[in-house]
């Protein structure tokens, strides 16, 4: 693979935009996102230009089906003025340039697009099955037209020479965890390869969002990844708002931000509990779960839902938090968590299992386009909250917590840092005042991109609306959909099977978010 390496000298965002515009034409420019139309011929060149600029990451890639399939690449720009650049190109025929050769992060999306739209990267590299199970009884509907021929069996780890075998695990795994199939390819000792089937949970959310109004759609959107309901909801709402050209009231945005940070808090607490479970530290798990439960009760007390469902709505929020309850309850719950984590950091049997376990290098994270704590633990300061041109995170800049090492312990430390940061932010947002205003949504035909930083990393949403305000294409990309692709590399850095649960806990992803 000859992936393009970024040049040392970072061009400014405007330079890149100009470079891309030179190849095509500027479509739209709102808040954080710039849309450039690139002719299919120049797509490869454009991808080179973007991937070659340091601080630019391929954040997402998806297609939409009209009379002709349109391929959109979302580039996250992370240095001087963070934001997003969307390139859209109309693809005639079955093939488009092999983008994953330029930006490896595109591979999973290439597979997904092939499944859904039947267009594939030129060069005929084998693509994996992602969402559509091979054993599906009925023919599953796709967003676009069918692929000419179905993708090859996922990773088919037919171990030629038979010097390794596949250790099957799942889809029904331990109690109280999501369905997921691990194919653990091992030579008896080391982890040769690890691959995942997530289609046991593929619910076709993007498919069923079509034809709904954004207000109806957000109900399903936030259930795409329930543990990041606020983040996904916000990203989706923001996309809708961008499309409809409305800006929610600052108070409403602060409400969202409070909810978002609460969500981050309880997720990190849950991850801590999972880490304890994976390392066999039951007492720590119990302590962390006490903190988790208290945080969830804070959520319930302040927003009326333990998992903050239904808080975010297009145009604003459905309800404001009970600020007094929050001020009253949160510090206690947070101290509970903090005491537990402090004790954990003092427990060698715990820390030793975390250190040098499931290592990912910054290089890997960058190439794979990883986001969230996983990426930040490798030293990449990537955070979608920085990309806010306005709103609470612009007024109260978040200081991004990073760590070096990229191992489980680094991820744990990032989580700890972020919990403290979240509490600080919540306090500031509350002090500035939160509200439940909701601007109503006049329908109009347009498209928009939205984003939010969930506890698992950047969530992206993109919607295209028709004149009736109904969705023609909605793209949801929760953090999980990104970070699972780093999981097998992290596991392969390890030779011990028993570390895999620890690594999984430290990623703290959901299958739901991946399978949607």
């Amino acid at each position: 693979m000859t992936a393009v390496e970024p040049r040392a000298a970072a061009g400014t965002r405007e330079q890149l935009v100009r470079a891309l515009t030179g190849l095509g034409s500027l479509q739209a420019r709102d808040g954080g996102a710039v849309t450039v139309r690139i002719p299919a011929g120049a797509l490869e060149q454009a991808a080179h230009a973007a991937a070659g600029t340091s601080g630019v990451r391929l954040a997402d890639m998806f297609a939409a089906d009209g009379d002709v399939t349109v391929l959109r690449l979302v580039w996250a720009y992370e240095t001087d003025k963070p934001g997003y650049i969307i390139t859209e190109s109309e693809i005639e025929g079955e093939e488009y340039p092999p983008l994953s050769d330029i930006a490896p992060a595109a591979f999973v999306e290439e597979c997904e697009i092939y499944e859904q739209f039947g267009i594939r990267p030129a060069g005929g590299k084998p693509l994996n099955r992602l969402m559509l199970p091979p054993h599906a009884g009925t023919e599953l509907p796709t967003l676009g037209h069918e692929p000419s021929r179905p993708p090859e069996e996922v990773h088919a780890p037919y171990t030629v020479g038979g010097q390794a075998f596949e250790f099957p695990f799942g889809p029904v795994r331990q109690v109280g965890v999501e369905s997921l199939y691990y194919g653990l390819v091992t030579s008896g000792e080391e982890v040769v390869d690890l691959y995942l089937f997530t289609w046991h949970k593929h619910r076709g959310v993007e498919w069923r969002l079509r034809g709904k109004t954004v207000s109806e759609a957000i109900f399903l959107a936030e259930r795409a990844e329930g543990l990041s309901a606020v983040a996904v909801g916000w990203a989706f709402a923001a996309a809708a708002e961008a499309a409809l050209g409305i800006a929610p009231a600052p108070a409403a945005l602060r409400t969202r931000a409070v909810a978002l940070e609460l969500e981050r808090l309880y997720n990190h607490a849950a991850a801590t509990a999972a880490l304890c479970q994976a390392t066999g530290l039951s007492v720590g798990q119990a302590a962390a779960e006490i903190a988790l439960e208290r945080l969830l009760r804070v959520n319930a007390a302040s927003f009326g839902h333990r998992y903050l469902f239904g808080v975010v709505e297009p145009g604003g929020v459905s309800r404001a938090p009970d600020a007094d309850a929050l001020r009253r309850e949160l510090p206690g719950a947070y101290d509970e968590l903090r005491r537990t984590t402090d004790a954990l950091l003092g427990t060698n049997s715990f820390v030793d299992r975390l250190e040098a376990c499931g290592i990912l290098t910054a290089e890997q994270a960058r190439r794979l386009g990883l986001v969230g704590p996983v990426a930040r633990a490798t030293g990449l300061a990537t955070d979608a909250r920085l990309a806010a041109a306005a709103g609470p995170y612009a007024d109260h800049p978040v200081n991004v917590i990073t760590a070096a090492g990229g191992d489980v312990f680094a991820r744990f430390q990032v989580m700890l840092g972020e919990t403290a940061e979240s509490v600080r932010l919540i306090r500031q947002f509350l002090d500035e005042g939160t509200g439940a205003d909701r601007t109503l949504v006049p329908p109009r035909a347009s498209t928009g991109l939205g984003w939010a930083e969930s506890s698992r990393g950047e969530v992206l949403a993109w919607v295209a609306l028709d004149s009736g305000g109904r969705i023609t294409r909605a793209r949801l990309r929760p953090g999980s959909a990104r970070n699972w692709r780093g999981f097998d590399d992290a596991c392969r850095s390890q030779n011990v099977f028993t570390d895999i649960p620890i690594i999984e806990a430290s990623f703290w992803l959901t299958v739901a978010g991946m399978a949607r």
Binding site: A105, C111, A156, G162, G170, V172, S187, G188, E189, D193
Partner: protein
């Protein structure tokens, strides 16, 4: 009338079989005749060998009179009890293979030649064992080597068989050279060519010469016996021979090497002093351990079995070496006991290894491959073979109640009594050897759990192995050997009685009652040490298995019970790739002994895209053939270099050659002039 006369019959029958094979083997009836004759010869050899165990040594006879025969010396024949053990084995193996061959081979020209050569090889082996003089021995030995070389060349077009045959021939010839020198030393020093005469006058030779002769013989025969590092021909040759051929090589030819060692160690020149024994024992133990470790690294059933042959040869030689030590330390009983134990293991290994190779042939024909990782689930497809193979596997894994266990137990009992030498150092060294054999035994069980489990149990890994059928596959021969294995276990007392008689003719020590005080109990040479009865053990284990079975059958719940598939985590279905493979099964050993294996690991994928791999994963861990690479390759290179260095002399240009001649003459004149 003595055993020798029977053996004339056997030899004649095999020559006839060879002739029949050569003339008519290309058609089914001729093939059958050939095999029938071969079996007849086998039966005769079996009878003769068996008889000679009881009869003792026959006098040396010279059928051609003292006249110089084509052998360049008088043809001297003699049947000794020591050789009798091997002749008996030869008989059993010959019968089993003769029973097996007609179904295994397709009639045809190649087969005809092959069978002819094979019967010739049988004859030559018999001649080796019946040789009463050194010239006869050497001629027979060389004939045997060449015959085996032709056997290995069954499919001369394939490079593999050419390589295997070459390795065999090259090493045999080197070995032969050493053996010749050893014999020459003895005969010149003893002024005798008859083996008896040599043995009788051996004490006249001074220690240095005798030691030299012994070491030469040990090395020379070691090439045949597969002593590490002289073993390299086995894994190369066995895979390319037809199954019965490799069965013959492992079951017998290797044993002839062992016979040669025994011949020198115990009969011709029992060297004084402990160190030759120590050398022999050390070589044996080393061979055993290395052999089984390499066996763990093999996926090809035949190569796997070949390495296990090396291991067993090592065990036998260890026993012989220990026997020599005890001899040097005036422990006649243990000396005799370990010799007997070693011979016992010879017989056992001859049976089950032949069996396993024959069954490997069945598997190869039925499933189209010998690669364990492409087999699987054969127990449902080849049930008869599975049962027979299982018996052989129990035997070779030295698990009670089968024969392998008996002989290995005896060997261990002998080694554990190393303290009786009185010398601490020697005692420690012997126990060290015992420990090595212990490790070997443990690994052997591991290896054969794999060797049986991977091909026979689980799911078939390829379509071919799923389509394997038993119809038309030979079974008689292996079954006979399975019976022999059980007999050798249950009938241990009888066997030991016979062997102790045979041993007496060599060692002069009579163990009879000391070894077998009761009818069915065995005492390892010293009553105060330990005792056990293979027969009772077999019976007891049989009962121990039967009782729970009966209880289960009796107490099986009558109530209706539902059977549901195994809980597989909700997978759509198990796939063959999800089962332990041969190489993953042995991965722990590979990791533990990686200093020896030096595995070179390579992982390849159809697309090694860092953003999500795709396509088949190809994982290989190649074991480095240490001895080939670091011992033989340099030698080969040196030889090649020498050849290159000489080549320029021969330009093929006549004038140049004339110049050489002229120069030579000139030189001669000059020399003459001076």
């Amino acid at each position: 009338m003595n055993p020798l006369d029977l053996l004339y019959g056997a030899g004649g029958a095999w020559l006839a079989a060879a002739l029949a094979g050569l003339l008519a083997g290309s058609r089914r009836p001729g093939l059958l005749t050939c095999c029938a004759l071969s079996a007849l010869g086998g039966a005769a050899a079996l009878a003769g060998g068996g008889w000679s165990l009881i009869y003792g040594n026959t006098p040396v006879v010279t059928p051609g009179g003292a006249a110089q025969t084509i052998t360049g010396g008088p043809l001297q024949l003699q049947m000794t009890s020591l050789a009798g053990v091997f002749v008996t084995l030869l008989g059993i193996v010959a019968v089993a293979i003769a029973w097996y061959a007609p179904r295994y081979h397709e009639p045809g020209h190649g087969t005809a030649v092959y069978l002819a050569v094979y019967n010739l090889a049988l004859f030559a082996c018999l001649a080796v064992l019946a040789a009463g003089g050194m010239v006869t021995f050497l001629v027979a030995w060389e004939t045997m080597s060449l015959a085996c070389y032709l056997l290995i060349l069954r499919h001369p077009r394939s490079d593999a068989s050419a390589r295997g045959a070459f390795w065999f021939l090259a090493l045999s010839e080197i070995g032969f050279l050493l053996v010749v020198v050893a014999f020459v030393i003895l005969s010149t020093k003893t002024h005798a060519t008859g083996l008896d005469a040599m043995a009788a006058r051996a004490h006249l030779v001074n220690g240095g010469w005798r030691a030299a002769a012994f070491l030469l013989a040990l090395a020379g025969f070691g090439f045949k016996a597969g002593l590490v590092p002289l073993h390299v021909w086995l894994p190369e040759a066995h895979p390319v021979v037809p199954a019965d051929g490799s069965a013959f090589l492992s079951g017998l030819v290797v044993k002839l090497g062992v016979y040669g060692i025994a011949l020198f160690a115990f009969r011709l020149d029992p060297v004084g002093g402990a160190w030759p024994g120590l050398v022999t024992m050390g070589a044996g133990a080393f061979t055993a351990a290395i052999g089984i470790l390499y066996a763990m690294g093999e996926r090809d059933i035949k190569r796997f079995l070949a390495y296990s042959t090396i291991e067993n040869a090592g065990i036998i030689v260890t026993a012989f070496g220990a026997a020599m030590i005890f001899h040097a330390y005036r422990q006649p009983q243990l000396y005799a006991f370990l010799l007997i134990a070693g011979l016992y293991h010879v017989a056992n290994h001859g049976c089950y290894k032949t069996l396993l190779f024959l069954e490997a042939g069945v598997v190869e024909h039925a499933a189209g491959t010998r690669d364990m990782d492409r087999l699987g689930g054969l127990v449902h497809r080849l049930p008869r073979s599975a049962v027979v193979t299982f018996v052989g596997t129990l035997g070779i894994a030295a698990l009670p109640p089968l024969n392998g266990f008996v002989s290995e137990w005896l060997i261990f009992q002998g080694l554990f009594q190393g303290f009786r030498t009185g010398s601490h150092l020697i005692a420690i060294l012997i126990v060290l050897a015992a420990a090595t054999l212990g490790l070997t035994g443990g690994l052997a069980i591991y290896a054969f759990v794999r060797g049986f489990g991977i091909p026979y149990l689980g799911m078939p890994r390829t379509r071919q192995s799923a389509a394997a059928r038993e119809e038309g596959q030979p079974i008689g021969g292996p079954a006979l050997l399975a019976v022999a294995c059980v007999a050798l276990a249950v009938g241990a007392p009888v066997v030991l009685a016979a062997l102790s008689r045979a041993g007496r003719t060599v060692t002069g020590v009579s163990l009879g009652r000391l070894l077998l005080p009761g009818e069915l109990t065995v005492i390892p040479a010293h009553a105060d040490f330990s005792a056990f009865s293979p027969t009772y053990l077999a019976v007891f284990l049989g009962a121990a298995c039967a009782v729970p079975t009966l209880i289960y059958l009796a107490g099986r719940p009558r109530a209706g019970s539902t059977s549901v598939p195994v809980w597989d985590g909700g997978m759509v279905r198990f796939r063959p790739r999800m089962q332990y493979s041969a190489m993953t099964f042995s991965a722990p050993t590979r990791v533990t002994f990686d200093a020896l294996y030096r595995p070179a690991v390579s992982v390849r994928r159809a697309s090694d895209d860092p953003a999500g791999r795709s396509g088949p994963v190809h994982y290989e861990a190649q074991v480095t053939p240490v001895f080939e690479r670091y011992l033989y390759r340099p030698v080969i290179r040196a030889v090649e270099w020498l050849a290159d260095a000489i080549r320029p002399l021969q330009s093929g240009d006549v004038n140049l050659y004339l110049l050489y001649v002229f120069a030579m003459i000139l030189l001669a004149y000059l020399v003459g002039a001076l």
